[in-house]
Symmetry: D2
Subunit: 380 residues, 4 copies
């Protein structure tokens, strides 16, 4: 059951990094939504390898084919099967991992769980598994956009120790003079995000980040980072009050992305140091800028658009921390599967920093969560 | 479906803050596990209100009754129904919330979603809902302890701006000389945690935290905090590789606790600033201190005991950020449901800081996640 | 997971025959539906033991208590916990089953699966488990009636070899002159059904059935029977096209009732002997008698109100076969758990024929299936 | 969610009759099971159209391709994606159904539910959807055979009014002298079943059935039938005691097959006319012929191998009734979607009797149910 996400919109991904294909089946997608391979391809292209010198050089066109569920450019209400053929598999690059599990990768735990050596690039633990997520997420997003005008934009807000400031929605800090150089989550667009290969909307920070990534790449090393994501125009009333709070489902979705180590919504960890009187988001009459349709709005948005597990109409924003890629070229002193000490110097193609290509993955998982909640709320 | 958690061990909680009872039904609990109301009561007592001057003065004995699933002190393999009667309901304390939604509470979003005013203390959004979680989690924990020797210990690691250092398992930092005053997750016990009402194992920090909490309480205000939790002796091989990664399910579970704003595992957000060569946990021959049974161990534990969604035998540790309680006595300028500006000064009994009583809730949700994964892995 | 039914309306039952209580938790029940213990009690009273000389003499008032989810006579949208205390447990009646598994009962298979002897009347395999189903089904039915005017009526259509004719909805046979003595599923009501203790609406057949049941009872034996159920005013469009066809979910629901051995919908097994030209239900302009709201109606109803897994607006009707009660007073040559031949003469109180009391159970399971489908279709 | 079956082994099918492909994704399939496209192809070939003069003349090779989850002839424990390309789509054959819904087909109910005309042969309601079931079921069966020696054999036991006798396992009737011409479920094999195109193992009955089918085909008509299925060597202890009783899950699975109208297990509807003393299956010492491994066996098998929802080790056998194919060439007086009376004379290729090709579909659904229960019971 591990490869299915969602209860109403159910996305099942399949495919190994070096098998024949990767893809997804979406069950529960509403009928009569305009949908073409072309629109899905846009997000896949943002995720695909080889986009720039700072991403893996694996060469995959990642062309999606729709096998079912769509006819004459519209969804049928039946399962949508999306397939992307693998072209540039090089399982031999990974021969060494048959004897030496890569530190902090899934090789060892897979062996324990399945009794299968993670030949061919890690199988399901590869970033390649996210192709199916992005294909399905792109479809989910079209539904959200068509029916509700939902906009989802993610961007890189930190790489290693280089960070950018972010203005978080309707927050009290919005008018802050220091905000001139900060990213405004109310207005940020994918076009702006895609202006540089880092996908950080602050050009200066992006430049520093790019230099840093090239430096660690040249060292045969890798570096972590943080992605910030905003979901705008989400109607008030989505989410469930107890175990499937909207922020809880977003947390599961984001923490299920390979290399994710942390998730925070709204004020997040910083909110833990605040007092209630400064953290609470007082209400104001709605119809204003932030949540136009809902009867009430909030003056600030420390809640991150969700209260008690349910959206309040304000922008939903959250941050996801990604650790540095586990597969590095640099020598590592570790052991083989038998516990004999050895030196590992990984071949294989990998990104020195996952965040630029993880941006559409974060957006896709957000779209899947929101579409599931939309259907749960009775919109279909 | 919102009130059920888990796939193999399924916990359904029920009950409103000011209704007749709260509780849980556990479906899928294995047969022949020793189980009594008394053992469950221990954790409920750690969660119950009125334990000290820094917690809410609501007076609830929170005595659990087992209605089914247990006979002669052993589980039958059938659903276990656990009920705790509410005694000290005071719905009238909340009359004001019928007209004025509390800022950053669930009153407004509930109204939008259900068309129901959150009379009587917030209904399911109340911390009282966690009684069912703790009762069920205590049972889950007994299963984990009996069958695998799993130990779960949570503690308060920060309150407002007061924090303690934590030694994270087998990490390279373990031997650090500065660690004398740090909490060692390998050895921390609930007995140590419970030595002060804050549930922070560093006595000096606990004292500062207590002072801070009393200060904000006297201001009619509230304060946030962070809980750190460790799960020891979890066998290698638990968790699922894609959407239901162990860390993803823990993230959902923790972010579903009222007031949670952030979750991080292992290195967490700090890991996002690291390089792969320093973040990777190299393998060493197993049988050592940390994961005694597994063939391999890791020299460090930045992974937090999980790699690729699957436990590796090392201690699993994570941190959960809690915002300050939304219900405060201090005056707030906000609006009523119609958008008319007004001043709200909440009555009602509440904790100025949720973390001391959230400690058993965090442990319980961890136990529910792990027991679900244990059964999924075929142990029953 | 075995004790939960449904995906959108999720009913979890709990309780052993000779434990403290039986009951159910309903998750996903819509808000603002009028609901009281009194309305639920009506169906429980139809199910409870001791109603007449032909049912078990166990004495249970089966008074339901609503622990949560309802306030001021209306549902809150939160889980509804329903509890019925057991009063007249006599576990000692069943002492013999600790050593000798009853033929065709669940004693032996429970022992194999759970390693637990089925002391105290069979635990979850007892008909007493159906208390929770009926309580939850009564609530589901109120939702269906309030929102859609759905009417569900079941009755006994055969006992042993005594049967009654049934006119099946809009079928070509409706006008048949021989139908004077047949039960018309378009007009049958619970009031009519309850006119005799057999719950067979044909008084003459009921009398023969009662005689038969008394005869087998006096022989220390038991007898099987068939229940027919009709669901009227179900809107067209409920049900799912593939694995969760409406008839498939009804089949699962009915075959999950203790002692059920067969299920058929519409023409059923008889339909297997027909030609397409006589079996097909041709369309006619809607607005007629049968499915008033839908644009089209069918001239006949061999489909039983469902086509391709989805309701078409015509009455849904189906039949459920029940085997004779396994627990009989008559001597049986069988073995103990060790395989030693022995003679078993069961004590314990049981119904010589389950069908009269199974009538509300069938109705309740039908209501749970339909309410789940209603919510799935977006009504909430 | 409608296109997924199972909880532990989850099969999701996709594909429309006249779209690009049909197929399935199996999630939860255990690792290290030998699996090739060739073994799956065997069952697909038994289901594919054009096998004989009595089946549809649609020409489909139905060649399966495994896209993921298998490497070097062994399963990886990851999702297995199975795809069968459609070759002989003729959507134009179905143009008429855009204006006139076929009586007793899904055209009308689909339109109501999805607002989509069932162009191109009915979409998901087509028998073509069962390709994915058979592909997935074949894989499930290999797991069951490899690990437990389970054997599943289905056959046609009646067509129209032509029926064959069946000896049901260890039943008291086994030794009956009249049983010489009856099908013995203990020994029947697929080889025997496949000796004639009807898939009825009694050669004389098969001949009569074939004549009947040709006669109705020549009339432009169709005919129904019954399939009997037996599952041998199922270990005792599979199945769940309440809502997911083994017979309940089989019932859902079978009633989800297009055209199924009835399901009965063991004694079935006939059992409803029996007394407990004749219906009960007394125990005898195990190790005998029927359930070799289990400690106890039963002298008869009216239970159909399941007691209280859990397998007892005896052969599981059941019957499924199929209505006559709805699509017929014969003229039908019906209406168009607007309710105007019209005459429909369907083109399109269809089977005059679905049962011969439904045999592997029944076996496949049985395999999926049993594999799900096997995993649930902890075998993986």
């Amino acid at each position: 059951m591990s490869s299915t996400f969602g209860n109403y919109l159910r996305v099942t991904t399949f495919g190994e990094s070096h098998g024949g294909a990767v893809g997804a089946v979406i069950d529960g997608f509403p009928a009569n939504i305009p949908l073409t391979a072309g629109v899905i391809q846009i997000q896949l292209d943002r995720r695909r390898p080889g986009q720039s010198s700072i991403t893996t050089q694996r060469d995959e066109a990642d062309t999606v084919e729709i096998l079912s569920g769509v006819e004459n450019g519209r969804s049928l209400g039946t399962p949508i099967a999306l397939v992307v053929k693998n072209k540039d598999q090089r399982p031999n690059d990974y021969a060494i991992t048959n004897t030496i599990p890569r530190p902090s990768h899934a090789d060892y735990t897979y062996m324990i769980k399945y009794g299968v050596t993670a030949k061919s690039g890690g199988g399901r633990a590869s970033a390649r598994e996210t192709v199916g997520r992005v294909a399905a997420g792109a479809a989910a997003e079209i539904f959200l956009r068509e029916k509700f005008g939902v906009e989802i934009v993610a961007f890189v807000s930190s790489t290693g120790d280089v960070s950018v400031g972010v203005d978080s929605g309707c927050s009290v800090n919005s008018g802050d003079s220091s905000s001139k150089n900060r990213i405004d989550i109310n207005t940020i667009t994918r076009d702006i995000v895609d202006r540089n290969p880092i996908r950080c909307p602050d050009p200066q920070a992006a430049e520093s980040m790019e230099k840093l990534i090239k430096r660690v790449r040249d060292d045969g090393d890798s570096i972590g980072g943080v992605i910030t994501c905003v979901c705008r125009n989400v109607p008030a009333g989505w989410g469930e009050p107890v175990f499937q709070k909207l922020e809880a489902m977003l947390a599961q979705a984001m923490m299920s992305i390979p290399a994710a180590k942390g998730f925070e919504i709204g004020s997040g960890f910083a909110g833990a140091a605040m007092r209630g009187s400064e953290h609470n988001d007082p209400f104001t009459r709605g119809g204003g800028q932030c949540p136009p349709a809902a009867p009430l709005a909030t003056k600030t948005n420390n809640s991150g658009g969700i209260q008690g597990g349910i959206s309040n109409g304000a922008p939903i924003y959250f941050r996801v921390a990604f650790k540095p890629t586990a597969t590095i070229g640099k020598e590592q002193i570790t052991t083989d599967y038998q516990g004999n000490e050895t030196v590992l110097k990984s071949a294989g193609r990998h990104d020195p920093c996952v965040t630029p290509r993880a941006v559409p993955v974060v957006e896709s998982m957000a779209a899947i969560v929101l579409a599931d909640m939309a259907l749960r709320a009775g919109y279909n």
